[in-house]
Symmetry: C2
DNA sequence: TATTGTTATACTCTATAACTATA
DNA sequence: TATAGTTATAGAGTATAACAATA
């Protein structure tokens, strides 16, 4: 349990972090914005999956995911196979052009971050990464799951 | 100096942090979105200032800031006085209605975060806050300053 | 009838460029 | 002529709702 001023400070820090994300986004290739990058990255890490699963991992609505997927499919970075288990779905997977694009993006990110964070120690950076992962997980744990009815989102926290 | 995989991990974490910001934004009052909240919060912390200064603190274009300011001024949360030093500018300041709005927002944020982060220790939270502040500062230091020509933004980092 | 996915519409945030008013 | 600020326009990200196809 932490102090109220720390929660207020965290809210400010999260508001300000948009600047960092924006700076980093500017290093992306012209036709691969952040949403597309997230799709490619998740397909690389988790392997083939449906749009619905991707939407769950991105924690955005499926309609949003559908648009991101259409973008990367139009550019030939992913393949779509019919799902043998369900005719309404297709299985998405990263193809070799998508892997090349991700490699390019990774190099841009690393170059930018290495220059920007050159004063940071290995330990500081891994601590930040761990805390961010934990922050994300804490919010995930409170978000109602798909297929778990009875989660009343209007309920005030106790 | 840190390892390449840590930079890649940080890029992923920053991409995923959007989820947290979105969750937190949903707790805001209907007519005070995140941009408006940032304006009110900066006026509270730093006192009266011009739009140009606000844009600098927000690290967004002045045209964006102008719209956010118009929004909060339309709702009567800030006052605008003529700037005695420059007839083109006005000095913005938070008024009492704006303070009430910020108080409401603060309570919502604290309630949400206290519920979401109830497992977090005081130390963990302050460490996260410090690291986020430092991350922000590292990016700030590399961003070209207003009135400092000669910063070639197209140059690749060495 | 329910679910998967797509599309239409709308809102927020941002940037660039054209414009007004003042310096 | 240059600067402070506003407005028009455009693009990215998101959500809700209506819709199509399949389960």
């Amino acid at each position: 349990m932490a102090a109220q001023s720390q929660y207020e400070e965290l809210a400010r820090q999260l508001s300000a972090i948009g600047t960092v994300k924006r700076d980093l986004s500017r290093t992306l290739p012209q036709d691969c914005p952040a949403g597309s990058t997230a799709v490619l990255s998740l397909l690389q890490r988790h392997g083939e999956m449906r749009i619905s699963r991707l939407a769950e991992l991105l924690a955005v609505d499926m309609s949003v995911t559908s648009r991101h997927v259409a973008h990367v499919a139009d550019r030939g970075w992913i393949d779509r196979q019919p799902d043998p288990l369900d005719g309404r779905s297709r299985l998405l997977s990263l193809n070799s052009d998508g892997q090349k694009m991700l490699q390019d993006i990774s190099e841009r990110y690393v170059a930018t971050l290495a220059a920007t964070l050159r004063e940071w120690s290995d330990d500081d950076l891994s601590q930040l990464n761990e805390l961010l992962a934990r922050l994300h997980k804490s919010f995930d744990d409170r978000r109602p799951r798909v297929g778990e009815p009875g989660c009343d989102r209007t309920r005030r926290p106790e």
